[in-house]
Subunit: 108 residues, 2 copies
DNA sequence: TGTCCATATATAGACAATCTTAGTATTATG
DNA sequence: CATAATACTAAGATTGTCTATATATGGACA
């Protein structure tokens, strides 16, 4: 695990989580994740868009072209109902996962 | 992320951690991880041995044939000096990783 | 006692998911 | 005009899963 690498699977959770606070375009999602993580995560564009497409394919987000603050064309992603529910699920999975890893790290 | 799946990269950390407590053979390592994690992780043989081979290739563990308690032939894995140092490093990486994810999960 | 199945143990190959790297394209702004 | 903002894609690497195979041993049972 390299320092700046995302563990497989966590990117989608982060994206979903960011979208809970409202629709954003891809680039904005990436920047938000970087900012909120204290630059711990640098989201590569080449990781981001495939992840967004997967989320769309799973109907967890929808995508619509719109305009950014600065009047630029951009695709805005919005959580679907199913996506909202999914955030909580995935968070639980994540928490359990971390607990289990920590159990091992502590106890043997 | 499926419930029983290991996130890529964490298996090696778990193996290294288990070996801190002494040499074990592959099967024993898997069983130990399962036990200590409260069966949260079921380590597939098809994941385990490739991971052990990678660790050996990186010179973080050594492997020697020996005998189990029950007199069966088995390959025992032992942490190298470098492997010992690596456990701590990887743990730090893991902790930072979790902190960063949690930052995002909490703050947006 | 002898046979058979379950468990312990190791390995290999095909396949899948998801990341990184690197490259392209468009438009607005300084 | 150069740079930043924005979107996308393809190739390659890593690392997991699933499945199958092989062998040795211990215990159940005829």
């Amino acid at each position: 695990m390299n320092k700046n690498d995302l563990l497989q699977g966590t990117l989608e959770l982060l994206i979903l989580r960011v979208l809970v606070t409202g629709s954003r375009h891809g680039y904005g999602i990436a920047k938000r994740i970087e900012q909120v993580s204290g630059e711990a995560f640098i989201v590569q564009m080449g990781s981001l868009y495939p992840a967004l497409n997967r989320l769309e394919a799973k109907a967890l987000v929808t995508a619509d072209w719109g305009k950014t603050d600065t009047g630029r064309r951009a695709k805005f992603y919005t959580l679907t109902k199913e996506g909202e529910a999914r955030v909580d699920d995935e968070r639980d999975v994540w928490d359990h996962y971390v607990s289990a890893i920590n159990l091992v790290l502590k106890n043997a």
